[in-house]
Amino acid sequence: MEINRKYNIEGGNFADAGYASSDIRKVIKQLGLSPAIIKKIAIAVYEAEINVVAHAYRGVMSVTIDRDKCQVIVDDEGPGIPDIDEAMKEGFSTASEKVREMGFGAGMGLPNIRQNADDLEIDSKVDEGTRLKITIFFNQTRAV
Protein backbone atom coordinates (compact mmCIF):
# COMPACT_ATOMS: atom_id res chain seq x y z
CA MET A 1 0.00 0.00 0.00
CA GLU A 2 1.20 3.43 -0.91
CA ILE A 3 -0.17 6.92 -0.68
CA ASN A 4 0.85 9.35 -3.37
CA ARG A 5 0.29 13.07 -3.43
CA LYS A 6 1.51 15.67 -5.88
CA TYR A 7 1.62 19.42 -5.36
CA ASN A 8 2.55 22.22 -7.69
CA ILE A 9 4.50 24.99 -6.03
CA GLU A 10 4.73 28.44 -7.49
CA GLY A 11 7.94 30.41 -7.02
CA GLY A 12 7.46 33.76 -5.33
CA ASN A 13 3.96 32.99 -4.09
CA PHE A 14 4.58 33.40 -0.36
CA ALA A 15 0.96 34.09 0.45
CA ASP A 16 -0.12 30.56 -0.50
CA ALA A 17 3.06 28.85 0.65
CA GLY A 18 2.50 26.13 3.18
CA TYR A 19 -0.44 24.49 1.44
CA ALA A 20 1.42 21.32 0.51
CA SER A 21 2.96 20.88 3.94
CA SER A 22 -0.30 21.50 5.75
CA ASP A 23 -2.07 18.96 3.51
CA ILE A 24 0.65 16.39 4.09
CA ARG A 25 0.41 16.97 7.80
CA LYS A 26 -3.30 16.14 7.62
CA VAL A 27 -2.58 12.95 5.70
CA ILE A 28 0.06 11.69 8.13
CA LYS A 29 -2.12 12.43 11.15
CA GLN A 30 -4.68 10.02 9.69
CA LEU A 31 -2.08 7.27 9.84
CA GLY A 32 -1.65 7.56 13.57
CA LEU A 33 2.09 8.26 13.51
CA SER A 34 3.76 9.52 16.66
CA PRO A 35 3.82 13.27 17.36
CA ALA A 36 7.62 13.25 16.96
CA ILE A 37 7.40 11.78 13.43
CA ILE A 38 4.56 14.13 12.48
CA LYS A 39 6.74 17.05 13.54
CA LYS A 40 9.80 15.84 11.61
CA ILE A 41 7.80 15.40 8.41
CA ALA A 42 5.95 18.68 8.88
CA ILE A 43 9.16 20.67 9.27
CA ALA A 44 11.05 18.96 6.46
CA VAL A 45 8.17 19.28 4.00
CA TYR A 46 7.50 22.89 4.97
CA GLU A 47 11.14 23.89 4.51
CA ALA A 48 11.31 22.11 1.17
CA GLU A 49 8.17 23.89 0.03
CA ILE A 50 9.45 27.31 1.15
CA ASN A 51 12.77 26.65 -0.60
CA VAL A 52 10.96 26.42 -3.92
CA VAL A 53 8.84 29.49 -3.20
CA ALA A 54 11.86 31.54 -2.14
CA HIS A 55 14.39 30.46 -4.75
CA ALA A 56 12.85 28.74 -7.76
CA TYR A 57 10.40 29.66 -10.53
CA ARG A 58 8.21 26.63 -10.01
CA GLY A 59 8.37 23.15 -8.64
CA VAL A 60 6.57 19.89 -8.10
CA MET A 61 6.49 18.09 -4.81
CA SER A 62 5.73 14.38 -4.91
CA VAL A 63 5.07 12.65 -1.65
CA THR A 64 5.02 8.89 -1.32
CA ILE A 65 4.06 7.26 1.94
CA ASP A 66 4.23 3.56 2.64
CA ARG A 67 4.05 1.66 5.91
CA ASP A 68 7.72 2.33 6.74
CA LYS A 69 8.54 5.75 5.46
CA CYS A 70 7.61 9.06 3.92
CA GLN A 71 9.53 10.05 0.84
CA VAL A 72 9.38 13.54 -0.58
CA ILE A 73 10.82 14.47 -3.94
CA VAL A 74 10.92 18.10 -4.87
CA ASP A 75 11.84 19.01 -8.43
CA ASP A 76 12.21 22.66 -9.18
CA GLU A 77 13.05 24.81 -12.13
CA GLY A 78 15.27 27.56 -10.94
CA PRO A 79 18.78 28.91 -10.53
CA GLY A 80 20.05 25.73 -8.88
CA ILE A 81 22.58 25.56 -6.06
CA PRO A 82 26.18 26.29 -7.14
CA ASP A 83 27.79 24.97 -3.96
CA ILE A 84 25.71 22.44 -2.06
CA ASP A 85 28.15 22.14 0.85
CA GLU A 86 27.97 25.87 1.36
CA ALA A 87 24.16 25.82 1.19
CA MET A 88 24.03 23.18 3.89
CA LYS A 89 25.70 25.50 6.38
CA GLU A 90 23.42 27.16 8.88
CA GLY A 91 22.93 30.80 8.07
CA PHE A 92 24.14 30.56 4.48
CA SER A 93 21.58 32.00 2.15
CA THR A 94 21.32 33.33 -1.36
CA ALA A 95 17.83 34.70 -0.76
CA SER A 96 17.16 38.16 -2.15
CA GLU A 97 16.64 41.19 0.07
CA LYS A 98 12.94 41.09 -0.81
CA VAL A 99 12.61 37.50 0.37
CA ARG A 100 14.48 38.26 3.61
CA GLU A 101 12.26 41.21 4.34
CA MET A 102 9.35 38.80 4.42
CA GLY A 103 11.06 36.83 7.13
CA PHE A 104 12.29 34.02 4.91
CA GLY A 105 15.74 33.15 3.59
CA ALA A 106 17.53 32.99 6.94
CA GLY A 107 19.70 30.20 5.61
CA MET A 108 18.09 27.55 7.79
CA GLY A 109 16.10 25.75 5.09
CA LEU A 110 18.46 22.98 4.02
CA PRO A 111 20.05 22.54 7.45
CA ASN A 112 16.56 22.19 8.93
CA ILE A 113 15.62 19.59 6.33
CA ARG A 114 18.80 17.65 6.99
CA GLN A 115 18.18 17.78 10.71
CA ASN A 116 14.72 16.28 10.38
CA ALA A 117 15.27 13.89 7.49
CA ASP A 118 16.75 10.44 7.95
CA ASP A 119 18.11 10.62 4.46
CA LEU A 120 18.60 13.59 2.16
CA GLU A 121 19.85 13.64 -1.41
CA ILE A 122 20.41 16.85 -3.31
CA ASP A 123 20.99 17.10 -7.00
CA SER A 124 21.38 20.48 -8.58
CA LYS A 125 22.31 22.00 -11.89
CA VAL A 126 23.04 25.70 -12.02
CA ASP A 127 20.48 27.60 -14.14
CA GLU A 128 18.34 24.49 -14.46
CA GLY A 129 17.02 23.43 -11.11
CA THR A 130 17.29 21.33 -8.02
CA ARG A 131 16.01 17.93 -6.98
CA LEU A 132 15.64 17.14 -3.29
CA LYS A 133 14.90 13.64 -2.09
CA ILE A 134 13.92 13.52 1.54
CA THR A 135 13.26 10.27 3.40
CA ILE A 136 11.83 9.98 6.87
CA PHE A 137 11.44 6.54 8.43
CA PHE A 138 8.55 5.88 10.79
CA ASN A 139 10.45 3.42 12.89
CA GLN A 140 12.45 5.83 15.00
CA THR A 141 15.22 3.36 15.76
CA ARG A 142 16.27 3.64 12.13
CA ALA A 143 16.68 7.36 12.38
CA VAL A 144 20.24 8.62 12.61
Binding site: E2, I3, S22, K29, Q30, G32, I38, R67
Partner: protein, 434 residues
Protein backbone atom coordinates in the same frame (compact mmCIF):
# COMPACT_ATOMS: atom_id res chain seq x y z
CA UNK B 1 -20.46 5.75 23.24
CA UNK B 2 -21.87 3.55 25.94
CA UNK B 3 -18.78 3.05 28.05
CA UNK B 4 -18.27 6.82 28.51
CA UNK B 5 -14.55 6.97 28.47
CA UNK B 6 -14.65 10.72 28.60
CA UNK B 7 -16.61 13.02 30.84
CA UNK B 8 -18.37 15.83 29.00
CA UNK B 9 -20.00 18.93 30.39
CA UNK B 10 -21.47 19.92 27.02
CA UNK B 11 -24.67 17.96 26.58
CA UNK B 12 -27.73 17.74 24.39
CA UNK B 13 -31.38 18.24 25.30
CA UNK B 14 -32.67 15.83 22.74
CA UNK B 15 -36.28 17.01 22.67
CA UNK B 16 -35.17 20.57 21.90
CA UNK B 17 -32.86 19.55 19.05
CA UNK B 18 -34.43 20.12 15.64
CA UNK B 19 -31.58 18.56 13.72
CA UNK B 20 -30.87 21.88 12.01
CA UNK B 21 -27.10 21.29 11.48
CA UNK B 22 -25.98 24.75 12.68
CA UNK B 23 -23.76 23.20 15.33
CA UNK B 24 -22.01 20.66 13.12
CA UNK B 25 -20.28 23.38 11.18
CA UNK B 26 -19.03 25.49 14.06
CA UNK B 27 -17.69 22.55 16.03
CA UNK B 28 -13.89 22.95 15.87
CA UNK B 29 -13.20 19.22 16.10
CA UNK B 30 -16.05 18.07 13.84
CA UNK B 31 -17.46 16.18 16.81
CA UNK B 32 -21.14 16.50 15.94
CA UNK B 33 -23.26 14.65 13.41
CA UNK B 34 -26.97 14.90 12.84
CA UNK B 35 -28.56 11.51 12.58
CA UNK B 36 -32.31 10.83 12.34
CA UNK B 37 -33.00 14.50 13.00
CA UNK B 38 -30.97 14.74 16.21
CA UNK B 39 -27.46 15.90 16.98
CA UNK B 40 -25.02 13.32 18.30
CA UNK B 41 -21.81 14.45 20.00
CA UNK B 42 -18.83 12.16 19.67
CA UNK B 43 -17.26 11.65 23.06
CA UNK B 44 -13.81 11.06 21.58
CA UNK B 45 -13.79 14.27 19.59
CA UNK B 46 -15.62 16.77 21.84
CA UNK B 47 -13.35 19.16 23.76
CA UNK B 48 -16.16 20.90 25.69
CA UNK B 49 -15.37 24.33 24.28
CA UNK B 50 -19.03 25.32 24.09
CA UNK B 51 -19.05 26.59 20.49
CA UNK B 52 -22.17 24.50 19.76
CA UNK B 53 -23.97 26.07 22.72
CA UNK B 54 -23.19 29.49 21.30
CA UNK B 55 -24.51 28.51 17.88
CA UNK B 56 -27.59 26.45 18.66
CA UNK B 57 -30.69 28.53 17.79
CA UNK B 58 -32.94 26.22 19.84
CA UNK B 59 -30.99 26.08 23.11
CA UNK B 60 -30.71 22.36 22.69
CA UNK B 61 -27.19 22.26 24.09
CA UNK B 62 -26.41 22.96 27.70
CA UNK B 63 -23.57 22.87 30.20
CA UNK B 64 -23.65 20.40 33.04
CA UNK B 65 -22.58 22.21 36.21
CA UNK B 66 -22.85 21.05 39.78
CA UNK B 67 -26.02 21.99 41.70
CA UNK B 68 -25.44 24.91 44.05
CA UNK B 69 -27.03 22.86 46.82
CA UNK B 70 -24.03 20.58 46.87
CA UNK B 71 -22.09 23.12 48.89
CA UNK B 72 -24.15 22.02 51.89
CA UNK B 73 -22.28 18.71 51.84
CA UNK B 74 -19.23 20.48 53.22
CA UNK B 75 -18.64 21.90 56.67
CA UNK B 76 -16.56 24.77 55.36
CA UNK B 77 -17.19 26.26 51.96
CA UNK B 78 -14.84 28.26 49.77
CA UNK B 79 -15.93 30.17 46.70
CA UNK B 80 -13.35 30.43 43.95
CA UNK B 81 -14.63 33.17 41.63
CA UNK B 82 -12.98 33.21 38.21
CA UNK B 83 -11.51 36.58 37.17
CA UNK B 84 -14.29 36.73 34.57
CA UNK B 85 -16.86 36.60 37.41
CA UNK B 86 -15.44 39.83 38.81
CA UNK B 87 -16.12 41.43 35.42
CA UNK B 88 -19.85 40.75 35.46
CA UNK B 89 -20.82 43.60 37.77
CA UNK B 90 -20.98 47.31 37.13
CA UNK B 91 -18.81 48.74 39.91
CA UNK B 92 -20.84 51.98 39.93
CA UNK B 93 -23.94 49.99 40.86
CA UNK B 94 -22.84 46.85 42.68
CA UNK B 95 -19.30 46.95 43.96
CA UNK B 96 -17.36 43.70 43.98
CA UNK B 97 -17.33 43.78 47.82
CA UNK B 98 -21.12 43.72 47.85
CA UNK B 99 -21.01 40.79 45.43
CA UNK B 100 -18.74 38.91 47.81
CA UNK B 101 -21.04 39.70 50.74
CA UNK B 102 -23.79 38.11 48.68
CA UNK B 103 -21.59 35.04 48.18
CA UNK B 104 -21.27 34.87 51.97
CA UNK B 105 -25.05 34.95 52.25
CA UNK B 106 -25.35 32.15 49.71
CA UNK B 107 -23.27 30.01 52.05
CA UNK B 108 -19.60 30.52 51.30
CA UNK B 109 -17.60 31.29 54.44
CA UNK B 110 -14.45 32.10 52.52
CA UNK B 111 -13.67 33.64 49.16
CA UNK B 112 -10.38 33.03 47.44
CA UNK B 113 -10.06 34.87 44.15
CA UNK B 114 -8.74 32.77 41.32
CA UNK B 115 -7.19 36.05 40.17
CA UNK B 116 -5.00 35.89 43.24
CA UNK B 117 -3.76 32.47 42.19
CA UNK B 118 -3.32 33.75 38.63
CA UNK B 119 -0.92 36.43 39.87
CA UNK B 120 1.11 33.66 41.50
CA UNK B 121 0.95 31.50 38.36
CA UNK B 122 2.39 34.47 36.45
CA UNK B 123 5.50 34.30 38.60
CA UNK B 124 5.56 30.49 38.44
CA UNK B 125 5.51 30.82 34.66
CA UNK B 126 8.47 33.24 34.72
CA UNK B 127 10.46 30.70 36.73
CA UNK B 128 9.29 27.77 34.61
CA UNK B 129 10.37 29.62 31.45
CA UNK B 130 13.95 29.78 32.72
CA UNK B 131 14.45 26.10 32.00
CA UNK B 132 11.51 25.01 29.85
CA UNK B 133 11.21 24.27 26.19
CA UNK B 134 10.05 27.33 24.28
CA UNK B 135 7.64 28.54 23.23
CA UNK B 136 5.53 27.56 26.15
CA UNK B 137 1.85 27.14 25.33
CA UNK B 138 -0.39 28.10 28.24
CA UNK B 139 -2.36 25.30 29.85
CA UNK B 140 -4.88 27.63 31.50
CA UNK B 141 -7.68 27.02 28.98
CA UNK B 142 -8.79 23.38 29.22
CA UNK B 143 -10.54 23.51 25.85
CA UNK B 144 -7.28 24.51 24.16
CA UNK B 145 -5.37 21.77 26.00
CA UNK B 146 -7.93 19.24 24.75
CA UNK B 147 -7.77 20.71 21.26
CA UNK B 148 -4.02 20.04 21.24
CA UNK B 149 -4.53 16.54 22.66
CA UNK B 150 -7.01 15.63 19.96
CA UNK B 151 -5.95 17.56 16.85
CA UNK B 152 -2.40 18.81 17.37
CA UNK B 153 -0.45 16.13 19.25
CA UNK B 154 2.74 17.45 17.66
CA UNK B 155 2.44 20.57 19.86
CA UNK B 156 1.93 18.65 23.11
CA UNK B 157 5.56 18.96 24.16
CA UNK B 158 5.16 22.74 24.34
CA UNK B 159 2.19 22.78 26.70
CA UNK B 160 3.07 24.20 30.12
CA UNK B 161 2.87 21.55 32.83
CA UNK B 162 1.75 24.25 35.24
CA UNK B 163 -1.37 23.96 37.40
CA UNK B 164 -3.98 26.42 36.12
CA UNK B 165 -4.99 29.24 38.52
CA UNK B 166 -8.29 27.47 39.38
CA UNK B 167 -6.45 24.46 40.82
CA UNK B 168 -3.80 26.59 42.51
CA UNK B 169 -6.61 28.58 44.14
CA UNK B 170 -8.21 25.39 45.48
CA UNK B 171 -4.90 24.07 46.80
CA UNK B 172 -3.82 27.28 48.54
CA UNK B 173 -7.22 28.18 49.97
CA UNK B 174 -7.67 24.71 51.48
CA UNK B 175 -4.20 24.89 52.94
CA UNK B 176 -4.81 28.35 54.45
CA UNK B 177 -8.11 27.31 56.02
CA UNK B 178 -6.97 23.99 57.41
CA UNK B 179 -3.96 25.72 58.95
CA UNK B 180 -5.86 28.73 60.25
CA UNK B 181 -9.01 27.03 61.50
CA UNK B 182 -7.78 23.51 62.03
CA UNK B 183 -10.43 22.09 59.75
CA UNK B 184 -9.37 18.90 57.95
CA UNK B 185 -8.96 19.43 54.24
CA UNK B 186 -11.64 16.78 53.53
CA UNK B 187 -14.29 18.90 55.22
CA UNK B 188 -13.48 21.96 53.16
CA UNK B 189 -15.30 22.27 49.86
CA UNK B 190 -13.79 24.50 47.16
CA UNK B 191 -16.22 25.65 44.46
CA UNK B 192 -15.17 27.26 41.24
CA UNK B 193 -17.58 29.74 39.67
CA UNK B 194 -17.11 28.95 36.01
CA UNK B 195 -17.65 30.95 32.82
CA UNK B 196 -17.37 27.86 30.64
CA UNK B 197 -18.00 24.12 30.22
CA UNK B 198 -14.32 23.32 29.68
CA UNK B 199 -13.50 24.10 33.30
CA UNK B 200 -16.18 21.67 34.48
CA UNK B 201 -14.53 18.93 32.46
CA UNK B 202 -11.10 19.99 33.71
CA UNK B 203 -12.31 19.29 37.26
CA UNK B 204 -14.30 16.12 36.60
CA UNK B 205 -11.70 14.54 34.34
CA UNK B 206 -8.42 16.45 34.65
CA UNK B 207 -5.51 15.93 32.28
CA UNK B 208 -1.99 15.19 33.51
CA UNK B 209 -3.16 14.45 37.04
CA UNK B 210 -5.46 12.06 38.84
CA UNK B 211 -7.84 14.50 40.44
CA UNK B 212 -8.50 18.14 41.09
CA UNK B 213 -8.81 19.70 44.52
CA UNK B 214 -11.80 21.65 43.25
CA UNK B 215 -14.88 19.95 44.72
CA UNK B 216 -17.59 21.47 42.62
CA UNK B 217 -18.02 23.70 39.59
CA UNK B 218 -20.90 26.14 39.69
CA UNK B 219 -22.45 27.97 36.78
CA UNK B 220 -21.57 31.65 36.67
CA UNK B 221 -25.07 32.41 35.36
CA UNK B 222 -26.70 30.69 38.31
CA UNK B 223 -24.44 32.34 40.88
CA UNK B 224 -24.95 35.70 39.17
CA UNK B 225 -28.72 35.39 39.58
CA UNK B 226 -28.38 34.32 43.22
CA UNK B 227 -26.02 37.23 43.91
CA UNK B 228 -28.47 39.68 42.35
CA UNK B 229 -31.21 38.40 44.65
CA UNK B 230 -29.04 38.43 47.76
CA UNK B 231 -27.57 41.89 47.28
CA UNK B 232 -31.00 43.29 48.15
CA UNK B 233 -30.63 41.84 51.66
CA UNK B 234 -27.27 43.46 52.29
CA UNK B 235 -27.44 46.51 54.56
CA UNK B 236 -23.83 47.02 55.45
CA UNK B 237 -21.02 46.04 53.12
CA UNK B 238 -18.07 44.21 54.57
CA UNK B 239 -14.87 45.06 52.73
CA UNK B 240 -12.40 42.68 51.16
CA UNK B 241 -8.94 42.93 49.76
CA UNK B 242 -8.47 41.80 46.19
CA UNK B 243 -5.95 40.46 43.75
CA UNK B 244 -4.05 43.03 41.76
CA UNK B 245 -4.33 43.74 38.07
CA UNK B 246 -1.80 41.10 37.01
CA UNK B 247 -4.18 38.39 38.20
CA UNK B 248 -7.54 39.97 37.49
CA UNK B 249 -6.63 40.66 33.89
CA UNK B 250 -6.38 36.90 33.19
CA UNK B 251 -10.11 36.98 32.52
CA UNK B 252 -9.59 38.70 29.17
CA UNK B 253 -7.63 38.25 25.96
CA UNK B 254 -3.94 39.22 26.40
CA UNK B 255 -4.36 39.22 30.17
CA UNK B 256 -2.22 36.21 30.79
CA UNK B 257 0.75 37.59 28.88
CA UNK B 258 0.42 41.15 30.17
CA UNK B 259 2.67 40.76 33.21
CA UNK B 260 5.18 38.40 31.62
CA UNK B 261 8.56 40.02 31.28
CA UNK B 262 9.43 38.60 27.90
CA UNK B 263 8.37 40.56 24.85
CA UNK B 264 8.44 37.39 22.77
CA UNK B 265 4.82 36.57 23.51
CA UNK B 266 1.56 36.30 21.64
CA UNK B 267 -2.09 35.86 22.59
CA UNK B 268 -4.74 34.11 20.54
CA UNK B 269 -8.41 34.00 21.43
CA UNK B 270 -11.22 32.07 19.79
CA UNK B 271 -10.96 28.32 19.27
CA UNK B 272 -11.03 28.64 15.48
CA UNK B 273 -8.27 31.24 15.65
CA UNK B 274 -6.19 28.88 17.79
CA UNK B 275 -6.67 26.19 15.15
CA UNK B 276 -5.66 28.43 12.31
CA UNK B 277 -2.62 29.61 14.29
CA UNK B 278 -1.45 26.06 14.98
CA UNK B 279 -2.20 24.92 11.45
CA UNK B 280 -0.51 27.76 9.66
CA UNK B 281 2.33 28.93 11.82
CA UNK B 282 5.71 27.97 10.43
CA UNK B 283 8.49 26.73 12.67
CA UNK B 284 10.56 29.87 12.41
CA UNK B 285 7.70 32.08 13.43
CA UNK B 286 6.71 29.64 16.17
CA UNK B 287 10.21 29.57 17.62
CA UNK B 288 10.19 33.33 17.77
CA UNK B 289 7.98 33.20 20.86
CA UNK B 290 8.70 32.36 24.47
CA UNK B 291 5.07 32.19 25.51
CA UNK B 292 1.77 31.61 23.75
CA UNK B 293 -1.52 32.45 25.44
CA UNK B 294 -4.33 30.56 23.76
CA UNK B 295 -7.94 30.78 24.83
CA UNK B 296 -11.00 29.15 23.33
CA UNK B 297 -13.26 32.17 23.83
CA UNK B 298 -13.27 35.66 22.38
CA UNK B 299 -12.21 37.95 24.07
CA UNK B 300 -10.87 35.57 26.69
CA UNK B 301 -12.79 33.92 29.54
CA UNK B 302 -15.35 36.75 29.78
CA UNK B 303 -16.62 35.36 26.47
CA UNK B 304 -17.41 31.95 27.97
CA UNK B 305 -20.90 30.61 27.33
CA UNK B 306 -21.81 30.73 31.04
CA UNK B 307 -20.78 34.36 31.50
CA UNK B 308 -24.09 36.22 31.87
CA UNK B 309 -23.25 39.73 30.65
CA UNK B 310 -21.97 41.07 27.34
CA UNK B 311 -18.40 39.94 26.79
CA UNK B 312 -17.00 43.19 25.44
CA UNK B 313 -18.58 45.27 28.17
CA UNK B 314 -17.22 42.75 30.68
CA UNK B 315 -13.77 43.09 29.16
CA UNK B 316 -13.74 46.84 29.70
CA UNK B 317 -15.10 46.45 33.24
CA UNK B 318 -12.42 43.96 34.11
CA UNK B 319 -9.69 46.24 32.80
CA UNK B 320 -10.98 49.09 34.95
CA UNK B 321 -11.73 47.01 38.03
CA UNK B 322 -8.38 47.48 39.71
CA UNK B 323 -9.10 51.23 39.97
CA UNK B 324 -12.01 50.49 42.29
CA UNK B 325 -10.64 47.92 44.67
CA UNK B 326 -8.34 47.67 47.63
CA UNK B 327 -5.43 45.36 46.84
CA UNK B 328 -4.24 42.51 48.99
CA UNK B 329 -0.64 42.48 50.01
CA UNK B 330 0.79 39.22 48.76
CA UNK B 331 4.24 38.35 47.59
CA UNK B 332 4.07 35.62 44.94
CA UNK B 333 7.79 34.92 45.23
CA UNK B 334 7.46 34.22 48.92
CA UNK B 335 4.41 32.00 48.39
CA UNK B 336 6.23 30.00 45.72
CA UNK B 337 9.22 29.64 48.03
CA UNK B 338 6.96 28.50 50.85
CA UNK B 339 5.17 25.80 48.85
CA UNK B 340 7.99 24.92 46.48
CA UNK B 341 7.79 24.91 42.66
CA UNK B 342 6.47 21.31 42.55
CA UNK B 343 3.25 22.42 44.25
CA UNK B 344 2.43 24.48 41.15
CA UNK B 345 3.17 21.82 38.55
CA UNK B 346 1.13 18.88 37.30
CA UNK B 347 2.76 15.55 37.92
CA UNK B 348 1.75 13.43 34.91
CA UNK B 349 2.21 13.43 31.17
CA UNK B 350 -0.40 14.67 28.75
CA UNK B 351 -1.62 11.76 26.66
CA UNK B 352 -2.48 12.49 23.01
CA UNK B 353 -5.84 11.27 21.73
CA UNK B 354 -5.27 11.85 18.01
CA UNK B 355 -8.83 11.77 16.70
CA UNK B 356 -7.70 11.97 13.09
CA UNK B 357 -6.17 8.49 13.16
CA UNK B 358 -8.15 6.30 10.75
CA UNK B 359 -7.06 2.87 11.93
CA UNK B 360 -4.77 1.22 14.46
CA UNK B 361 -3.08 -0.62 11.62
CA UNK B 362 -1.06 1.75 9.45
CA UNK B 363 -1.67 -0.26 6.29
CA UNK B 364 -5.44 -0.14 6.87
CA UNK B 365 -5.19 3.57 7.72
CA UNK B 366 -3.45 4.19 4.41
CA UNK B 367 -6.13 2.31 2.52
CA UNK B 368 -8.81 4.30 4.26
CA UNK B 369 -7.03 7.60 3.56
CA UNK B 370 -6.99 6.74 -0.15
CA UNK B 371 -10.64 5.67 -0.10
CA UNK B 372 -11.58 8.97 1.54
CA UNK B 373 -9.67 10.88 -1.10
CA UNK B 374 -11.48 9.03 -3.90
CA UNK B 375 -14.90 9.29 -2.27
CA UNK B 376 -14.57 13.00 -1.54
CA UNK B 377 -14.23 13.54 -5.30
CA UNK B 378 -17.70 12.11 -5.85
CA UNK B 379 -19.43 14.63 -3.60
CA UNK B 380 -20.31 18.16 -4.73
CA UNK B 381 -17.95 19.78 -2.19
CA UNK B 382 -20.42 22.42 -1.10
CA UNK B 383 -20.54 21.23 2.52
CA UNK B 384 -24.31 21.70 2.71
CA UNK B 385 -24.64 19.62 5.86
CA UNK B 386 -27.83 17.88 4.70
CA UNK B 387 -26.20 14.50 5.25
CA UNK B 388 -25.58 15.43 8.88
CA UNK B 389 -21.82 15.77 8.47
CA UNK B 390 -20.00 19.10 8.69
CA UNK B 391 -18.28 18.72 5.30
CA UNK B 392 -18.36 16.47 2.25
CA UNK B 393 -14.96 15.24 3.35
CA UNK B 394 -16.28 14.33 6.78
CA UNK B 395 -19.02 12.31 5.09
CA UNK B 396 -16.35 10.48 3.08
CA UNK B 397 -14.53 9.73 6.35
CA UNK B 398 -17.70 8.50 8.00
CA UNK B 399 -18.45 6.22 5.06
CA UNK B 400 -14.99 4.70 5.19
CA UNK B 401 -15.45 4.19 8.94
CA UNK B 402 -18.82 2.50 8.30
CA UNK B 403 -20.76 5.28 9.99
CA UNK B 404 -22.60 6.55 6.91
CA UNK B 405 -23.41 5.62 3.33
CA UNK B 406 -22.95 7.40 0.03
CA UNK B 407 -26.70 7.89 -0.24
CA UNK B 408 -26.72 10.12 2.83
CA UNK B 409 -25.60 12.75 0.29
CA UNK B 410 -28.78 14.17 -1.23
CA UNK B 411 -27.00 14.95 -4.50
CA UNK B 412 -25.80 11.38 -4.92
CA UNK B 413 -29.26 10.19 -3.90
CA UNK B 414 -30.90 12.42 -6.55
CA UNK B 415 -28.65 10.96 -9.23
CA UNK B 416 -29.56 7.50 -8.03
CA UNK B 417 -33.26 8.32 -8.29
CA UNK B 418 -32.81 9.62 -11.82
CA UNK B 419 -31.08 6.39 -12.73
CA UNK B 420 -33.81 4.32 -11.14
CA UNK B 421 -36.45 6.37 -12.93
CA UNK B 422 -34.82 5.58 -16.24
CA UNK B 423 -34.84 1.91 -15.39
CA UNK B 424 -38.54 2.09 -14.54
CA UNK B 425 -39.22 3.84 -17.84
CA UNK B 426 -37.40 1.09 -19.66
CA UNK B 427 -39.44 -1.52 -17.88
CA UNK B 428 -42.65 0.24 -18.90
CA UNK B 429 -41.49 0.60 -22.48
CA UNK B 430 -40.80 -3.08 -22.63
CA UNK B 431 -44.33 -3.75 -21.46
CA UNK B 432 -45.78 -1.40 -24.12
CA UNK B 433 -44.00 -3.30 -26.85
CA UNK B 434 -45.74 -6.41 -25.72
Amino acid sequence: MANNRYFHSVRLKEDQCKGCTHCIRTCPTEAIRVHDGKAIISEERCIDCGECIRTCPHNAKYVYTDPVDMIKDYRYRVALPAPSFMAQFDQEKIGIDKVYNALNLIGFQYIYEVASAAAIVNVVTEKYLETSKKPLISSACPAVVRLILTKFPEYLEYVAMIEPPMDVAAKISKDIISKKLGIPSGEIGAFFITPCPAKVTAVKQPEAKDSSLVDGVLSMKEIYDLVMQKTKEIKEVKHYKHADRAGIIWGVHEGEIEALETQRKVAISGIHNVISFLENIDQKEFKRYDFIEAQACIPGCVGGVLAPTDKFAAKIRLKQLSDYIEKEDINPDKIIEEYGMKFFLVEKQLMPRNIDKLDLDIERAMEKAEQIEALAEEFPGIDCGACGCPTCRALAEDIVQNKATKYDCIFILREKFKEMNKEFDLLNKNRNIK
